[in-house]
Symmetry: C2
Subunit: 297 residues, 2 copies
Amino acid sequence: MSAGSTARARPLAGRKPFLTAAGAPLTREIAILDEFGERRGIHIPAERPLTVYVDKRELVTLMTLGASPELLVLGYLLNQRLIASADEIDAITVDWEVEAAAVQTRGGIGDIDARTARRIVTTGCGQGTVFGDLLTALDAVRLPGAQAARIRQGTLHGLLEVVRQQNSIHRKAGSVHGCALFRGAEMLMFIEDVGRHNAIDTIAGWMALNGVEGADKVFYTTGRLTSEMVMKSAQMGVPIIVSRNGVTAMGYDMASKLGMTLFGRASNRHFLCYTGFERFDAEPEPQRAPVRVVAGG
Amino acid sequence: MSAGSTARARPLAGRKPFLTAAGAPLTREIAILDEFGERRGIHIPAERPLTVYVDKRELVTLMTLGASPELLVLGYLLNQRLIASADEIDAITVDWEVEAAAVQTRGGIGDIDARTARRIVTTGCGQGTVFGDLLTALDAVRLPGAQAARIRQGTLHGLLEVVRQQNSIHRKAGSVHGCALFRGAEMLMFIEDVGRHNAIDTIAGWMALNGVEGADKVFYTTGRLTSEMVMKSAQMGVPIIVSRNGVTAMGYDMASKLGMTLFGRASNRHFLCYTGFERFDAEPEPQRAPVRVVAGG
């Protein structure tokens, strides 16, 4: 499995897996009562159980917004290291009628019982699940060096401006997390989900399906930089992460250990670089200003 | 297990379980680089793996801030319905040196393999884990009716003011979620953790240890009202939940089904009542004002 994090960067050797394009409404309107005694409608994000069957065997049930369930399932299998490449998948068929995703592999997933046996509950905002061999698999991660993968302050500002202008479910209904993949300040992929781990998994699925390299990309998330998010970005081969939110101690430690660069509290023209300063070019020359008090969150 | 959610409301039949009081630093200072090119120190929350052993058998590894690991473990076992009452626990011994919590039960946990076998990944902000029998167990939940458990708008304002004034890790270091248990506007218990599911589990542990009823309480969380948070609050017998954040569709549906009352976007004097209006008394008479545009999040 040590090829897992790099295999996905290759263009697919075989033909692409067949994916359905199962659609479903992404928001719902509910009637609320506000603090002024007014009754009115607001939108909330949809949230659906999606039970994943691999070669007719039930693996897991994911709760998702449902924006891109096929890529979510593909990315989930990759990020859980149950597969090393999209090549291993023949088809992913999602049917919302039965809230199921049927995954057909080309050669089966060896030793699946053993590899899904150990349960580690990670932070996320909640209690994320990562199967046991994932942490050890980090040793296999290879990221480009600081000279090969860098980011300029001007590029970071541009990236944040693109994020700010992005039309989103969050803007309409709140309560979702967004993730995006950037090349410089160019947004290649944007996805939202009720779970931010789903969002990053979906991006991993998109990268794998399209043979997109991680080395020259920047991963953006609205969520906290937890160990799990850092780990998944590393597996995807993306060395630079930008978050609107903060960092947890394990996310910070893992990124430092892996030589990744983390930006947090990033919105508009503000940000903190937590670690991996060596990939960052403070150009154009940042304007000096009194140090801001950074709000928690 | 059908007594699970109510058994915990009883004062303990036997003696209280023995709990250690393992302490650990809750924040760390790291050196960051900000957008003005300034290097300075900020605080981030600690995050530690805590592997839970039940009668010497490894159950799960939780990632936690570490503020109250013994109550976290107790509440985790309760909210996962692996035990129905704190009576079943003889001792919980946490040792940060080895990052382990040793749980000694009085009679063992029957059928533990089967009951921890099925994996459901719920939303949280991430991919929370709930063992399979939990969802079905909701049928056993009994909550007080709308006449028995109500909340006044004035009380809600008072509660939010107490939250606003609470000194917190979040204020110092960000990136943690806070949960609190209220009787009216009186805060009985406040806890923060890197995972908000840990925080609610810790409150469940505290309630169980002290035989605290849920029926006349209000549960506050800084996190989103996901199905998992609603489910846990219901198991704890608490019918009213207040969140600074929003609601997901499954959290909304579950609360509606259970006859719970959900308030979201609640801070200062603002809030939305999503469902369970019948428990809410808009008194003192809310001042009329133009309807606010509610920001997402």
